[in-house]
């Protein structure tokens, strides 16, 4: 295992944020962005109080599962909440504040240097991604500047990038929802908010800013972590990742296939899949690769422990992927109830934390995490489920997942059709 997979944090080098000059600069930028967005929100509340309140509520709720998913991506070396909040705030307050005037100006430049027709068809595809992807990527750069020790792997870059993208996505969706209310011209109505929520939040949400910025963040993570590579190589990879995020965004906004597949329900779904699926699969594969390499690295640290009370070969296998960790929890629930599933979760967390401590150059004390592992092991033994291994993947579980997804899409589509949004 090369050091490029993970650059373990040196605990002795962690510096309080207040002593980092970049922290104060970033804080000032966040305050400026916050004031600008607060003024915008004030205007929205003055004109459309109910619609604005509902859009804030709905999109805040939508952010919760996305947040939990992104925060869970790096199971082994979890990112500090304060930095995740900072990344989210950068996306929601700073990147949006910059992107609104910058995007309008760039689209106008397309119209001036090209033609109004070019701006009408390709303006959104060229201007939005160009400004927004740069503004969001700067959020990951800001995180590196203020807490470099916390960016230990490519996956860390993915997590911070995704969190910046999530903040941007939520803020942008709120602006679009209230904009739809204004365009409808029927006063403080809630229907345009709900239609925007279903359309942008669900159908457009999964392959939107969170995903694009995750890719750009991976590039910044690689730039920071892969020290054994030359600077030109690392810069090249980072630029390529940001370009990939930009290209995915351009493809999503591009006026391609708008008329080619007709106007029906299947046609719209087809367009969504053609434009959204390739980047989605590409980025998910990349994230999975980064996750698996990081997991292999930390599992390798745990494998050096000779004591099966700390980790068994079966548990090492289970720890390698999110699906196998979940499978281990399901197996525990099936055999020994929910208490056992919760104990497996705590055991896996303690083992992950122990692996991180083992990876650190100054790993002085791993005793507290060893004790935490032994404590959960004792709980599991008492429950009659001593080992947190993954179960076999059942067809029933797979079938349930597929059916649930299909039903969710159908319900979403019926709701959209009823609201006139599809």
């Amino acid at each position: 295992m090369t050091a490029s997979v993970v650059r373990p944090a040196d605990g002795s080098r962690e510096v309080a944020l207040v002593r980092v000059p970049a922290f104060w600069v970033v804080l000032a930028v966040l305050v400026a962005g916050g004031l600008w967005m607060a003024r915008l929100a004030g205007e929205f509340f003055t004109s459309y109080p109910k619609a604005t309140a509902l859009s804030l509520l709905l999109f805040a709720l939508l952010a919760v599962p996305f947040w939990l998913f992104v925060a869970e991506l790096d199971f082994f070396e979890r990112e500090p909440t304060r930095l995740l909040v900072l990344a989210f705030a950068w996306g929601g307050l700073v990147a949006t504040t910059v992107s609104i005037p910058g995007g309008v100006a760039l689209e106008d430049l397309v119209a001036k240097l090209g033609s109004p027709g070019l701006a009408a068809s390709w303006g959104a595809a060229l201007a939005g991604p160009s400004v927004e992807e740069i503004a969001k990527t700067l959020g990951v750069v800001a995180i590196v500047l203020i807490a470099r020790a916390q960016v230990n792997s490519v996956l860390d870059g993915v997590v911070y990038g995704a969190m910046v993208g999530l903040g941007f996505q939520i803020a942008e969706d709120i602006v679009f929802a209230v904009g739809a209310v204004a365009l409808a011209g029927q006063g403080d109505q809630l229907q345009p908010v709900i239609a925007t929520f279903l359309l942008r939040g669900f159908l457009g949400g999964i392959w939107s800013h969170t995903l694009f910025s995750a890719l750009a963040g991976a590039g910044i993570g690689y730039l920071v972590v892969s020290r054994e590579r030359g600077r030109p190589h690392r810069m090249g990879v980072a630029v390529l990742a940001v370009f990939g995020a930009w290209a995915s965004h351009v493809l999503w906004n591009a006026p391609l296939f708008v008329d080619g597949l007709g106007n029906g329900v299947l046609a719209l779904l087809g367009v969504l899949l053609i434009k959204g699926l390739p980047p989605l699969l590409l980025i998910l594969l990349l994230v999975r690769h980064a996750h698996d390499r990081e997991a292999d690295y930390y599992v390798g640290r745990l494998a050096t422990l000779p004591d099966p009370a700390l980790v068994t070969p079966g548990e090492l296998e289970a720890l390698r992927s999110g699906s196998r960790r979940a499978s281990a929890r399901r197996l525990a629930a099936d055999r020994a109830g929910r208490t056992a599933a919760a104990a497996v979760r705590r055991l896996q967390r303690a083992q992950a934390r122990l692996a991180v401590e083992l990876s650190r150059a100054d790993a002085g004390s791993t005793a507290s995490w060893e004790a935490a592992v032994r404590e959960q092991r004792a709980v599991l033994r008492q429950l009659g489920h001593a080992e947190a291994v993954a179960g076999r993947v059942s067809w029933r579980h797979r079938a349930e997942t597929v059916v649930t997804t299909v039903v969710a899409i159908a319900v979403l589509w019926v709701a959209l059709s009823a609201l006139g949004g599809a």
Partner: protein, 188 residues
């Protein structure tokens, strides 16, 4: 007093680089945009495409402002300028009748702080057979007229604004232009 070390200086410069890039996006791009002219001459007497198959013959001497002009297959906007007077036309898909379209436009006008609709609506028609409603509004230091037409799943909204003196001078020409609105084919 604590001195800044080399690592902190590099860190500070990096942060300032981030701020400079943000400034370039937020202020630099708009500054470049403002430095380039937005108005283009339009040929006199020739129909100008607004969007979704709708055309209009611009007033003589008008220019088109490309920052407010986005022609499209299913919708579109055009912004003409006749001296200081603004003459905008927007075409959008619409499910509803003329009264609903007019009410929607009036609501959007009065939703803008300081804007008031001033008069009752009158019927208006175009040479191409479009039937619509028109009215007036005031804004701080400005006056305005609006007209709205509905045809085959589209709404065509016309808004004209400027100070009272300029508006009074240009209005006959603009109203003549509005009467040339024509639907040339079905929207896609």
């Amino acid at each position: 007093m604590a001195r800044i070390n080399r690592r902190q200086l590099t860190n500070l410069l990096g942060a300032l680089g981030v701020v400079a890039t943000l400034g370039g996006l937020a202020f630099g791009l708009p500054a470049i945009d403002r430095s380039l002219p937005a108005e283009r001459a339009v040929p006199d007497g020739r129909p100008y495409p607004v969007g979704a198959g709708v055309t209009v013959v611009p007033p003589r001497g008008a220019t088109v402002d490309v920052t407010g002009t986005r022609p499209g297959d299913s919708e579109g906007t055009v912004l003409f300028r006749l001296g200081p007077v603004r003459y905008a036309i927007a075409v959008r898909p619409f499910r509803g009748d003329l009264a609903a379209a007019a009410e929607r436009l009036r609501k959007r006008i009065v939703d803008t702080t300081g804007y008031q609709v001033t008069s009752a609506q009158l019927t208006v028609g175009t040479a191409g057979g479009l039937a619509g409603l028109q009215g007036g509004y005031t804004a701080p230091g400005r006056g305005g007229r609006y007209a709205v037409f509905v045809d085959g799943g589209l709404t065509i909204e016309v808004t004209i604004s400027g100070n009272d003196l300029d508006l009074g001078r240009s209005l006959p020409q603009i109203e003549a232009s509005t009467r040339t609105l024509r639907r040339t084919d079905e929207p896609r």
